[in-house]
Amino acid sequence: MDWWSHNRRDKSMKFFKNILLSFCILVSLSSGMLAAMAEDSADQARSYCVKSGYLYSSSPSVNSGQGMCVFPDKSWCDSQAFFQGTCSRSLKPNILPGYVSGYEGMWAQSAESICRSSGGSLRSVHTPYGDITMCAFADGRTCDLKSMAEGRCGRDMWQVYARSWLDSP
């Protein structure tokens, strides 16, 4: 190997080392920035929830430990989702607490679509304890949304409703 070739190889090695070093610095910087951005975003979501008049909360066992915005009827939404405008103050009194149904948003959405696709329509009905939403069919049958989501229309769900309604924040 001549001097020119040796020198060229050294230069190439140095060049690659420099690129590798730059890449590592860039990665560490960007991961720091990403972490900082995520933190900023979490702070913004928290601030947005509180400024909107709701309670911010987090619990290791709920929402995978991610921040939640808790509404007055004890229903909640992921704080980031609320910040991004994909959920708002709940207007469905019969949304159940997490201990009953897991992630309540999923079944509520599913029950609404099942109700509509089954030819029913959602009806808000007054009671002295607040309005309830139920699925009503043309033949007069009625079904609560929770039972509908579970495919057990007609099952007695009074206890679950009652408990969720009175579960004050």
């Binding site: 708002s88 007054h126 002295p128 304890y129 009074w158 408990r163 009175l166």
Partner: protein
């Protein structure tokens, strides 16, 4: 002769409700009420609710009583609404107030003296929430109705209607009343209530309770003018079919709502003080829950 006249008079009295009901059937009335509720423009309402719960066992006699007075205005033409609740704990004399305004797509609450502004991404749903009369009509629509008489309210002839809600609604009312009774109870809530299989049908609550609904509906416009809901229940270990030391809980809830000013000028003005809103940092007092939802 006199006895014959008495018999005729008696028979006439028996048929009096039928005479009142002759000009309209309950199915027609349901349709007309729904149509009227769908074509509302403006209205106002007042509501009074009273809840009394008596707790007793061999060593104590305790009572909780609270009243809630509500006023509301709805203007569907300009999509605005207002409600005001005043809750009084009769035992302690404490008074709580809560108001809600919905105007220009924004909602404000005033709890005590504190204002909160809400960011709303579905104004139509919020407006539907403020427009509460259709949900009262729905309660009648999902009930077995019978026209029992007639009465004049504010100079307007009305049918008096007795309504028996469908099982789903009736059990929801009674079930919530059971839990509400335990909010101020000196007796602990039975462990059985945490069991999802605990069922009204397995207990004798239905035989020891009563839910009655009476409505007054305008003969001329088919608008709901007044609705009364009375619910009462008695709980004991044997009624609940649970093994506990003996106790008795008697709960009564009476609610009366009057609607009026249909189609008249209804102004809803957000007070200037609402500009001084601040974040809501605590939940509602538990006594709101005695009347159900903590969100009115």
């Amino acid at each position: 002769m006199k006895s014959i006249l008495t018999i005729i008079a008696f028979i006439s009295l028996l048929y009096l409700p039928v005479v009142f009901a002759e000009d309209v059937s309950v199915d027609q009335l349901k349709q007309m009420m729904t149509a009227s509720a769908d074509n509302l423009t403006t209205y106002t309402y007042t509501r009074s609710a009273e809840n009394t719960i008596i707790y007793s066992n061999e060593s104590l006699q305790d009572k909780f009583a609270a009243v809630k007075a509500t006023e509301g205005k709805v203007n569907l033409t300009v999509q605005s609404g207002w409600w005001s609740h005043q809750l009084t704990d009769i035992g302690t004399g404490q008074v709580f107030s809560w108001q809600g305004y919905f105007s220009n797509g924004t909602e404000y609450w005033k709890e005590g003296d504190n204002w909160t502004q809400f960011i709303i991404d579905d104004p139509d749903a919020v407006m539907a929430d403020y427009n509460e009369l259709p949900s009262q009509v729905a309660l009648l629509n999902y009930s077995n109705l019978s026209i029992t008489g007639a009465q004049t309210i504010d100079g307007e002839d009305c049918y008096i209607i007795a309504a028996e809600p469908v099982r789903l609604i009736k059990e929801t009312i009674l079930g919530t009343q059971i839990y509400a009774a335990y909010l101020s109870s000196p007796f602990p809530m039975p462990d059985e209530f945490d069991n999802k299989d605990f069922d009204l049908d397995n207990s004798s609550i239905s035989g020891n309770s009563n839910v009655s609904v009476t409505a007054w509906v305008s003969k001329q416009t088919s608008q709901l003018r007044r609705i009364e809901i009375d619910s009462s229940l008695t709980l004991t270990p044997s009624i609940l079919n649970i093994e506990e030391q003996d106790f008795t809980i008697q709960s009564t809830l009476q609610e009366r709502t009057d609607y009026g000013n249909f189609g008249e000028s209804v102004q809803i003005v957000l007070p200037l003080e609402s500009r001084n809103y601040s974040p809501r940092t605590k939940g509602a007092d538990w006594r709101w829950a005695v009347f159900g939802l903590v969100e009115p």
